[in-house]
Symmetry: C2
Subunit: 143 residues, 2 copies
């Protein structure tokens, strides 16, 4: 698992797209066990006034409803440590692994993911950190 | 917490509305600490082909984005034990209590909710059980 994985590249692109829209710059991408991208998305809290369309939820929603075995062995890439809701979504769909861009800005449900047998990899990616830092500096009241 | 609580009545109404639409008959309702209904909704998996619009997510989404203190002391009523994603959503929004219609058909993230200090009340409501039993008998492949 590395910063050059297509799933991570897509998650980071999604985070940047969210930033460009004036939204919370968090992106996610769901990748199947054979390495193909199943779906990707970014946080839509500001864009849609949504309370639940976090990046991982958007990615799952954009993936659409698949048979349970399509999620087997899948990896969820996300630019920021997933909150409890998004961690729960990964548990619900029984993904194998969650790859986190960074968890310095925020730590979500990583402990619960591990407790449920899901591998958690943290990349400590500098671009993810810088994007969140810039967003928080520019819009402290939104974050 | 009882079956006559307006929040539970609304959650059950939502479950029935979902059934009438041919959907998964699970409903939810978010009630503020002063007893007013903030939002309600039902599972939209079939109706919208949605992977994430479970009843509690729909209720939170229909509630809209509120300031964090609006969720303080709130109760999430749901007709069926909340899955890990929906339990995580209740943890994210720091509701005080989750009231579950029944958990015989399915048990979700109740243990994690309690671990996070959220009160979980199970009503073992017969209507909720009957609705799920009828749905599963009629559409075993969907459930």
């Amino acid at each position: 698992m590395s910063e050059s994985d297509p799933g991570f590249v897509a998650a980071l692109e999604e985070a940047k797209a969210g930033f460009a829209e004036g939204g919370v710059p968090i992106g996610a991408c769901l990748v199947s066990r054979d390495g193909s991208i199943l779906g990707r998305g970014h946080n839509m809290r500001i864009q849609k006034g949504s309370a639940t369309l976090h990046a991982e939820i958007s990615a799952l929603e954009n993936t659409g409803r698949l048979p349970a075995n399509a999620y087997e062995g899948a990896t969820m890439y996300t630019s920021l440590s997933p909150c409890e809701m998004c961690s729960g979504a990964c548990i619900l769909y029984k993904v194998k692994r969650v790859v986190v861009g960074e968890n310095k800005t925020f730590v979500g449900g990583e402990e619960h993911l591990r407790r449920k047998g899901i591998e958690v990899v943290v990349l400590e990616n500098e671009e993810c950190k810088a994007l969140m830092a810039r967003f928080i500096a520019e819009k402290p009241n939104v974050w």
